[in-house]
C-alpha cells in the first residue's frame, strides 16, 4: 500500500507538465479550437515525448508502462485542457495489446507508438446511450475478410484519426474490429464539441475491416474502463487547475474594499471544492490501480470511481463559475473552458446516474477498497 509516485513517474509528469506549460498555452489552445478543435502537430509533439507508446510493449516499440503512468499523463493533459484525444490512444493501444492477435499487434502497435497512427474508439450509436451491449453496426464475412456497415456517432477526432476500433455484431455476438478511415465506404462528418475539441459521425458501408477479437463484449467493456480511468485522471488535472484558478481569483478580486476570499460563505465553498477534488483524486488513483484487476472487480471499481468523479466534476465546475461571478461565464476568461471540459467529461463513458446504476447492481454484502 503505497501512493508515492516513483522517480520515473515524477519525471514523466514533469516532462508532460513542461510541454503543457510551454507548448500548449491558452492562446495556442484557442487557435486550435478556432481551427476545428484538433491539431495533428500537437499530437505529434506528444509523440515526440514517446507518450503514444505508453501502453505499448517495448518489443512493439513502446514504453511498456502501465495505468499509473497513463494516469500521470492524463492528469497533466487535463491541467492544460489539451484538446487532442490522447486518452483514445491509451484505450485503443490497451485493447489491441490485450485482445488482438499477433498480426494485429505487429501491424498497429508500432505505428501507434510512433505517433504515426492515431487510433480512436468508435462505439457510440444512437439509441444505445451509455449501454455497451446495444449495437446495430453489422459485420459480415466477405471473401477472406470482414465488412462492416453502420453508423457511429460522436467519435473523438473522428474525421482526423487514421483508424477506428469499432464494435459490431458478427454472427450474433459483439466483436471488435479495426477500420481505416481511408477504407472504401467510410464517410465522416466532423464537428466541434462543447469542450472545444473535435468529433465526427462515421458511416460505414460494406467497409473492409480487420478483426481484433470476437470476444467483443469483454474487450469493449475493458476499453471503456480504460477510457473511464483516463477520464478520471484527466478530470483530476482539470479540477486541480480549476480550484487553483478560483482560489487565485478570490484572493485578487475585491468588493466592499476587501478581497472576496475574506467572505466566510465563499471560503466554505472553496473548502467544499477542495473536498471534492481530493475525493476525486483518491478515486482516480483507485480507478487506475484497479484497471488490471479481474473483469468483475475492475467493472465495480471503475463504476464507483465514475460516480465520485461525476459528482466532483459537476460541483467543482459549477462552483468555480459561480465564485468567479460574471467573468466566469465569459469566453475570454479561462475558467469557463475548464467548466465546459468538466461538463463534457461527466457525460463521457457513462454519466453519474448510469454508473450509480452499475454500482447498485453490483453491490455485495461488504464493500471497501479491499472488500
Amino acid at each position: 500500500m503505497d501512493f508515492d509516485f516513483s522517480e520515473d513517474q515524477e519525471q514523466l509528469r514533469d516532462a508532460v507538465r513542461k510541454w503543457v506549460d510551454k507548448g500548449y498555452d491558452f492562446e495556442r489552445r484557442r487557435a486550435i479550437v478556432k481551427a476545428g478543435g484538433f491539431d495533428r502537430g500537437a499530437y505529434g509533439e506528444l509523440a515526440e515525448l514517446g507518450l503514444p507508446g505508453l501502453y505499448v510493449s517495448e518489443a512493439d516499440g513502446g514504453l511498456g508502462m502501465g495505468p499509473v503512468e497513463g494516469m500521470v499523463v492524463m492528469e497533466e493533459l487535463g491541467r492544460g485542457i489539451v484538446l487532442e484525444p490522447f486518452g483514445q490512444t491509451l484505450i485503443t493501444s490497451g485493447v489491441i495489446g490485450a485482445y488482438g492477435g499477433a498480426d494485429v499487434k505487429t501491424s498497429w502497435l508500432p505505428k501507434i507508438a510512433a505517433g504515426e497512427a492515431l487510433v480512436v474508439l468508435a462505439h457510440q450509436e444512437r439509441g444505445a446511450r451509455y449501454r455497451l451491449d446495444a449495437c446495430k453496426t453489422a459485420a459480415t464475412q466477405a471473401g477472406g475478410g470482414w465488412q462492416l456497415s453502420g453508423t457511429k456517432n460522436v467519435v473523438p477526432a473522428g474525421d482526423q484519426a487514421d483508424t477506428f476500433v469499432v464494435p459490431a455484431m458478427a454472427n450474433g455476438q459483439l466483436a471488435l474490429f479495426m477500420v481505416e478511415r481511408g477504407a472504401s465506404g467510410v464517410t465522416s462528418r466532423g464537428y466541434g464539441t462543447q469542450d472545444g475539441s473535435r468529433a465526427a459521425d462515421i458511416t460505414l458501408a460494406q467497409t473492409p475491416a480487420t478483426l481484433i477479437t470476437t470476444n467483443g463484449q469483454a474487450a469493449l467493456e475493458h476499453a471503456v474502463d480504460i477510457g473511464i480511468a483516463c477520464v478520471c485522471a484527466e478530470a483530476v488535472g482539470v479540477m486541480d487547475k480549476t480550484v487553483a484558478v478560483t482560489a487565485e481569483y478570490l484572493n485578487t478580486r475585491k468588493q466592499f474594499g476587501v478581497p472576496i476570499a475574506s467572505f466566510q460563505a465563499l471560503r466554505h465553498r472553496m473548502a467544499d471544492m477542495k473536498m471534492q477534488l481530493e475525493l476525486a483524486r483518491s478515486m482516480s488513483y483507485y480507478a487506475s490501480l484497479k484497471l488490471n484487476a479481474s473483469a468483475d472487480e475492475r467493472r465495480r471499481a471503475l463504476a464507483r470511481a465514475k460516480v465520485q468523479l461525476g459528482q466532483s466534476m459537476r460541483f467543482v465546475g459549477q462552483q468555480a463559475v459561480q465564485l468567479h461571478g460574471g467573468i466566469g461565464v465569459t469566453d475570454e476568461y479561462i475558467v469557463s473552458h475548464y467548466f465546459k471540459k468538466l461538463t463534457q467529461l461527466e457525460m463521457t463513458y457513462g454519466d453519474t446516474l448510469h454508473h450509480l446504476g452499475e454500482v447498485s447492481d453490483r453491490m455485495e454484502d461488504t464493500a471497501g477498497v479491499f472488500a
Binding site: R129, Y191, Q194, A199, F263, G326, M347
Partner: protein, 393 residues
C-alpha cells in the same frame, strides 16, 4: 383562502390566451419552444405587437397608458405569454426605466421617453455594473461632471445585456465623491448614439453575444436627461429594484420548460428510466412549490393584507430551477448534447444533427448560459445575505 382563480380572473386569462394565440408569430414561438436563437428583429417584432395593443408596458398604470392590471392579472399575462412560447419582454425599457421615469421624472421627460418605450420603438439598455463594481454596486466610478447645461461622462459599464442593440441607456453615474458612496450617485439617461459611446459585445461561454462593455469617453449628456435630483440616483435605483417583482422567479417559463424536458426525456429514452425520471419528479415538485410561493406573494399584493418579504427566496429558487431543467435536458441527451454545431441552433437549419435529433443542438449551450442566473440580478450569495437579514436582523 382559495386556490382557484375568480371567474373574472379566469375570463381575463381566456382573453389573454386568445389574443396571444392570434397574435404571436408562429416562427417566433417555434424558436422559443425549441430554444433556437432569437434575433433582435424577433424580439422587437413581438415587442411592437404588444406595444400596439398597449400591453408592452403591461405593468403600467392607466395614467401613463398602461392597462392598470393588478398583481394577479400581470401574473396571468406573464403566464399565458410564457406558456405560448412568447419571448421574454426585454425589460430594460418597459419594466425597469419606465417606472423610474414615472415616479421621479418630470412631465417633459415622461412625455419624451414613455411613448417610445410603450410602443417598443426604442431599445433601452441598463448601465449599472462596472468592472470593479459587481455585488458592491455603490462603489461605481463612472463620472458625470456638470459643465453648464450638460454633463460630461467618463467611465465604463459592463454586463450590459443586449446593449449591442441599445439606443438609449439609463446609467448610474458618480456626481460626487463626498460622503458615503451611495450619496454621490445620479440617474442619467444617455443617448447611445452620442459621440464617445463605444459598445463592445462580450463573447460568452456558449459562444453567444448577450452582454456588453460600454465605454463613455467625454460623452456630452444634456442636463435635462438627469432624472430627479443630482446625487439621489441610488434612491431611484432602489425603487426600481423594489419593482422587480415575482416575475424574477420565472416560474411560468419553468413550467413550459418542464414540458419540454419531458418531451426530450421521451425522445432520448430516459423517461422510462426510473433513476432519470425521479430527477424530473423532484424538479416537478420544486416547480409546483415555487409556483405556490409566487401565488402567495401575488395574493398578498392583491389584498394588501400581508406583505411577504421573500423576493430573495424567489430569486434563489427560481434561478436554481432554471439551471436544473437545463442541466437535466442536457443530461437526458447525454452524448448527443456534446456536438457544438452553431448553425443547428438557428431556425430552419436543414443539416443532419448527430443522432438525427436537432432538438438536442442547443441543450448544452443553454445549460452553460444559464449559469448566469445565479450570478446576475444580485448573486444568490447576495440574496442569501438579504434573506438572512430578514431572519436574523
Amino acid at each position: 383562502m382559495d386556490l382557484a382563480f375568480t371567474p373574472e380572473e379566469q375570463a381575463f386569462r381566456e382573453e389573454i390566451r386568445t389574443w396571444v394565440r392570434d397574435n404571436l408569430p408562429a416562427d417566433i414561438s417555434h424558436k422559443v419552444h425549441n430554444a433556437l436563437r432569437l434575433s433582435r428583429d424577433d424580439m422587437q417584432r413581438w415587442a411592437k405587437i404588444l406595444g400596439k395593443k398597449g400591453w408592452l408596458g403591461y405593468g403600467w398604470p392607466r395614467q401613463f397608458g398602461g392597462p392598470g392590471w393588478n398583481a394577479v392579472q400581470k401574473h396571468l399575462f406573464e403566464e399565458e405569454c410564457a406558456l405560448a412560447g412568447a419571448p421574454r419582454i426585454v425589460p430594460f425599457g418597459p419594466v425597469m426605466v419606465a417606472p423610474v421615469i414615472m415616479a421621479f421624472g418630470n412631465p417633459e421627460q415622461q412625455q419624451r421617453f414613455l411613448p417610445g418605450i410603450a410602443s417598443g420603438e426604442v431599445w433601452w439598455s441598463q448601465g449599472y455594473s462596472e468592472p470593479g463594481s459587481g455585488s458592491d454596486l455603490a462603489s461605481l466610478k463612472t463620472r458625470a461632471e456638470r459643465q453648464g447645461d450638460h454633463y460630461i461622462v467618463n467611465g465604463q459599464k459592463t454586463w450590459t445585456t443586449l446593449g449591442q442593440y441599445g439606443e438609449w441607456i439609463f446609467c448610474l453615474v458618480r456626481t460626487s465623491t463626498e460622503g458615503k458612496p451611495q450619496t454621490g450617485i445620479s440617474f442619467l439617461l444617455i443617448d447611445m448614439k452620442s459621440p464617445g459611446v463605444t459598445v463592445r459585445p462580450i463573447k460568452l461561454l456558449d459562444g453567444e453575444y448577450e452582454v456588453n462593455e460600454v465605454w463613455f469617453d467625454n460623452v456630452k449628456v444634456p442636463a435635462e436627461n438627469l432624472i430627479g435630483e443630482e446625487n439621489k440616483g441610488w434612491t431611484y435605483a432602489k425603487h426600481l429594484l423594489a419593482h422587480e417583482r415575482t416575475n424574477i422567479a420565472d416560474v411560468n417559463r419553468a413550467k413550459r420548460e418542464l414540458e419540454r424536458l419531458k418531451r426530450i426525456a421521451k425522445a432520448e429514452g430516459v423517461w422510462d428510466d426510473l433513476r432519470f425520471r425521479d430527477q424530473i419528479a423532484l424538479l416537478e415538485v420544486d416547480i409546483v412549490a415555487l409556483e405556490m410561493l409566487v401565488l402567495r406573494v401575488l395574493s398578498a399584493e392583491k389584498s394588501g393584507k400581508n406583505s411577504l418579504d421573500i423576493a430573495g427566496l424567489l430569486k434563489i429558487k427560481g434561478s436554481e430551477i432554471q439551471q436544473r431543467y437545463t442541466e437535466l435536458m442536457m443530461l437526458a441527451a447525454g452524448p448527443f448534447s456534446v456536438p457544438f454545431i452553431e448553425e443547428a441552433m438557428e431556425a430552419g437549419w436543414q443539416g443532419n444533427f448527430p443522432g438525427g435529433v436537432v432538438a438536442n443542438a442547443p441543450l448544452a449551450s443553454t445549460y452553460f448560459n444559464m449559469r448566469k442566473t445565479t450570478i446576475y440580478g444580485g448573486s444568490n450569495e447576495v440574496q442569501r445575505n438579504i434573506v438572512a437579514q430578514t431572519v436574523l436582523g
